[in-house]
Symmetry: D2
Subunit: 377 residues, 4 copies
Amino acid sequence: MNKRIKLGMIGGGPGSFIGPVHRKAARMTNDYEFVGGVFSADFEKAKQVADSDHIDVNRIYPDLNTMIRTELALPAEERMQAVSIVTPNYIHFEAAQKLLMNGFHVICDKPVTTTVPEALELKRLVDETGLTFCLTHTYLGYPMVRQMRELVKTGVLGEIQRVDAQYYQGWVNPLIHGGESHLSAWRFDSKYAGASSCLGDIGVHAFNLIEYASGLKCTQVLADMNHVVNHVDLDLDATVLLRMDNNCLGLVRASQVAAGEENDLKIGIYGSKASLKWDQENPNYLYLISDDEPNKVYRPAHAYNTEIAAISSGLPCGHPEGLHEAFANLYAASAKSIRGEELKDGELPGIVDGVRGMQFIEGAVNSFKKGNTWVKL
Amino acid sequence: MNKRIKLGMIGGGPGSFIGPVHRKAARMTNDYEFVGGVFSADFEKAKQVADSDHIDVNRIYPDLNTMIRTELALPAEERMQAVSIVTPNYIHFEAAQKLLMNGFHVICDKPVTTTVPEALELKRLVDETGLTFCLTHTYLGYPMVRQMRELVKTGVLGEIQRVDAQYYQGWVNPLIHGGESHLSAWRFDSKYAGASSCLGDIGVHAFNLIEYASGLKCTQVLADMNHVVNHVDLDLDATVLLRMDNNCLGLVRASQVAAGEENDLKIGIYGSKASLKWDQENPNYLYLISDDEPNKVYRPAHAYNTEIAAISSGLPCGHPEGLHEAFANLYAASAKSIRGEELKDGELPGIVDGVRGMQFIEGAVNSFKKGNTWVKL
Amino acid sequence: MNKRIKLGMIGGGPGSFIGPVHRKAARMTNDYEFVGGVFSADFEKAKQVADSDHIDVNRIYPDLNTMIRTELALPAEERMQAVSIVTPNYIHFEAAQKLLMNGFHVICDKPVTTTVPEALELKRLVDETGLTFCLTHTYLGYPMVRQMRELVKTGVLGEIQRVDAQYYQGWVNPLIHGGESHLSAWRFDSKYAGASSCLGDIGVHAFNLIEYASGLKCTQVLADMNHVVNHVDLDLDATVLLRMDNNCLGLVRASQVAAGEENDLKIGIYGSKASLKWDQENPNYLYLISDDEPNKVYRPAHAYNTEIAAISSGLPCGHPEGLHEAFANLYAASAKSIRGEELKDGELPGIVDGVRGMQFIEGAVNSFKKGNTWVKL
Amino acid sequence: MNKRIKLGMIGGGPGSFIGPVHRKAARMTNDYEFVGGVFSADFEKAKQVADSDHIDVNRIYPDLNTMIRTELALPAEERMQAVSIVTPNYIHFEAAQKLLMNGFHVICDKPVTTTVPEALELKRLVDETGLTFCLTHTYLGYPMVRQMRELVKTGVLGEIQRVDAQYYQGWVNPLIHGGESHLSAWRFDSKYAGASSCLGDIGVHAFNLIEYASGLKCTQVLADMNHVVNHVDLDLDATVLLRMDNNCLGLVRASQVAAGEENDLKIGIYGSKASLKWDQENPNYLYLISDDEPNKVYRPAHAYNTEIAAISSGLPCGHPEGLHEAFANLYAASAKSIRGEELKDGELPGIVDGVRGMQFIEGAVNSFKKGNTWVKL
């Protein structure tokens, strides 16, 4: 019997949004056996999570060092092989560093670190160890995002003349307008979140999506930001002008204070012959528009899609798949990588995406601090 | 540690669409441990499925009787507790009957049987044994379908004056127009599929959705059907007029030959004050329309939803969930039922839905055979 | 200077919805000079309409006979040439008959008459006189409806296997549920409206659209109807099964009591290779869906459209046009016909559409009265 | 009989897109009699337009001075009262100036002039003469845009935290990529178009819409622009950061090279409690989204709308209206103004909009020239 990969987790304790998503995604692939981890700084709470998730409480650890030491002492075939890092941002670097240095594959939330040098250091470690490092840029797991990238490669758009992405949410409004008490949220504290709230949490997804789907690289950024209320020290709303390596204009817009917006990540890649548009809230529709023929709507699970899109959807056409499946596609790609199987181009976002993301965040923050000037990435 | 329910499966071998969906849904809940079953009449193939799905090949059985006998011989805490039936229709009855008679909980695909008396016999057994019986009317697991039913209950629609559901697919076209060879498909053979193809496979979903969401009961049906091509003996396209118990008109339309339609299940419930509309391909939008105020769009994961809708979505708003999650909601409800936990109204479609579905199919087929006359359900 | 056609109107007085639409449509074409008519049985009110519409009050007449007599006495170049009939249904026949017999071209609202024999008599007169007779089936003026018909003609759908149209409105609810006082509405009185309210007012549009767009003819109908409340004698909600001349199933659904629906006319033509869908409330989108390639969205004002679609839109692409323009396209076609210019196929709905519509209404009403049996058209 | 306003036109000759739109809009209101003008520098062509439009060829003039002199010599009740200016941009100023100085009301296309001082001079003249000056910012005539502004006024959005507008078209692509020959288009020549192509032609609409709908004023701009190809001297693609007078971020994006986009003008106003979104290509839907209750969709012709929205639609709900009607609403407002009738707030875009628009264009161009620095408006 083909063995499942033994998976651990750092973070994802009670109240975590993203921890359960990682666990569900891993289970959906059936490529992993979830064996334990460090779920919470509060050991009792961590054990409750383990219990409710049917995980052996003996492999719940009080801290990362204990986990590494104990697991390394286990026989190889029982030992944890890969670890998901789903903590607040500021822990990502140290945890990833230790795990990689001790031979564990890593699946890490974004933003990968809180500074560019940390990201570069992780890149060095990944290159050196040859271990798998997956950065869970969730949206790169959607079939139609992957199809978008492939369609761009064919040249059907002609010359790319503009790239736009936006990521709007509204969930921060009640926190900032409803009183001080909610501001303990770690995302608004640069100590825990890094130099940016809005760009670090969501703007970086938009940036990542642009480079992934268009195949272009951003060369410089000019950012405007808004903290919205006096008692918040990080950006909650931002606009970033991009210049791309083919000289076309790009744009990232991100907001955490757009009331009523849920998870409104959109991208448009505009070419001289045709353009592509995709919207995360309706992820199973990819629009190819042109002036010369009727607009086209690509849908998952059709023979006309490319191979990477095809392997990214698991149901017949018309049966909606969503974020869990996109996430699971990243876990599936990680499993392939861990097993040494060949990956399709674009199947596994990794440390390079992480470095680019940190460069974007840092560049944008610097641009704003310098009075909205251009900053090279 | 809270134990997971030990789950088996009948059917779902290589090439099956629905088997893997059941397995993935069960894994998503994390309420089940998938332990074995009878995956295929071809024992070697069954073992391959087991291997690729990381299931112990020793609990793959050549036939149902062997499985029941062997499992019953295991200690209670190792024994299979529930079994999913995902075979062609004609096997449902016999398998469910044997499983219920031997104390196994059952999770069964629809249509529940191929005749009304069989469905009634299963109902008798379920009532007698007190075992859990889940009929996987997938669409009843969607948060917005459940919200729809709750909104109807509040009376916001006024008097219901019309109910419509449609279910259109196009996948049969290449089979019937592309040559004889494909007609081995079991769905077109009444021996395996029962009295109907189109109504039995998809029309029954539309009917079920009408009764579920509107709270009305259908009292009689008048059906028109089309076999489309001479060499097919079952309906591939059908329209069924309904009369509901409040005397309003109802309608079920179903087609397997609507080229380009993917899985186009839609419902509208039209009232004297307001109406509700929902569409399976965009399941996270529920429309409440009226003449007196702006139309309203309900979305999952908001505090304004009812409790059953709330427990039916697992992600923050704006993160799309789809069919797997709807399916998993039925598995979660089954687990609650098996464990004796309290269910919300409408959380678990069961044998009563099965009996109603068979009455609908049989009534419609009889109506058509009698020259499109009304048939009481 | 190319002279404009001198146009008169019967009906369209104060409070009329459709009268002003006709006048605006005629003005949009700039093909007509609106010179007078019989706007209302109340002569004073008629004169007010004339004044507010900048029409010479001397050509407002107290009744049709006076109008005909007086106009015929004018020199040919001043004389009214065409007359729009926008009265309640029961007046259509007599007015059209007199006008045709006296040499006036006629532009008439639907339903063309209240009985089939009346419609046939008008057809005889139109054939005999060679005068232009336009039946304002508004929706046949939309560019994308015309494009739909042309696409069907190309055979791109393969064999047509199903045709569906629906027309849902909710405006009648407050009238029937809000008290008796509103029931003076002429549409609910068979003396003024003919044998049907819902099918006569809107169902007939759906039927007309099916035959127009699909190119198929309906051979028989089976109808179910609902008066909804005891104190209304006509249908307010109806479903009509159709059998088409290629043996495929068809369907017309119409409701005036679907709360919240505005003017929800939709059509789907489903083929063995592809299908077409169009929706009146978003009239500038025509969907061609198939299993083999991405779905296509046709939009007006593109070079890829057919010639009749091209001449039907007057703005560059992306500038929305709506019902007024569709209506104006019928007035433009009438002007071409009156001037003896060549018309495109499908450009001018006429008396043949009127006869078919009356056969549909009469057939459906008879089917319902006979207990939902098939009635041949 | 209430007399219609006698209307003339400068520009709008053969091949003009906007001239016929003005004429049709004026006719739709029935408030105007179109009596003549200077349609083209080519007098013969001008007469052909007159003939095809049923206008007395004797009032077609070879130039503006002749027109003014001749019309002023006519008896007051025959004389042209208002003149529409639909020429290339560079003529707007001189024509408007002369017309206002000679007592004619003016209806002028945007951008109002090619420089800010010209716009200010026209403002001085309008203030001095008290004549009506309508700047045809078409999109301000849409019912749902007007409703948007009124909803903002109610405070339902809470604090406005972000405003975004985009205007994307693709029509320029074939001109710039298809060869030099097409570059005679006046829009790409600063002599005729002014300092900007993309912002002057369409970006200014987006800017205008932001200030109109949000009620906020922009205080400074920072622009990035792209000429796309070497042989074009004006911007064809641009992004403009805005800072609004309440300190929130704003954004205008405009492109003439977004292949496949038709006339994609969109706006979003994001508040602390709720947000509003509108899209010109689907103009009859206005979205009010919030986290606390289901999203709301406003539609024209409902009693729940405000008064100015109500008077802006002429059909029952569900009957689509589009750009012609929006345009006609501006002509109707102009007629009310000319007759001295009271206007609703926001009903008539005028010279103040023109001055703001020119300040925006000039500010953005200067910002770009100075290396993407902030420029105060």
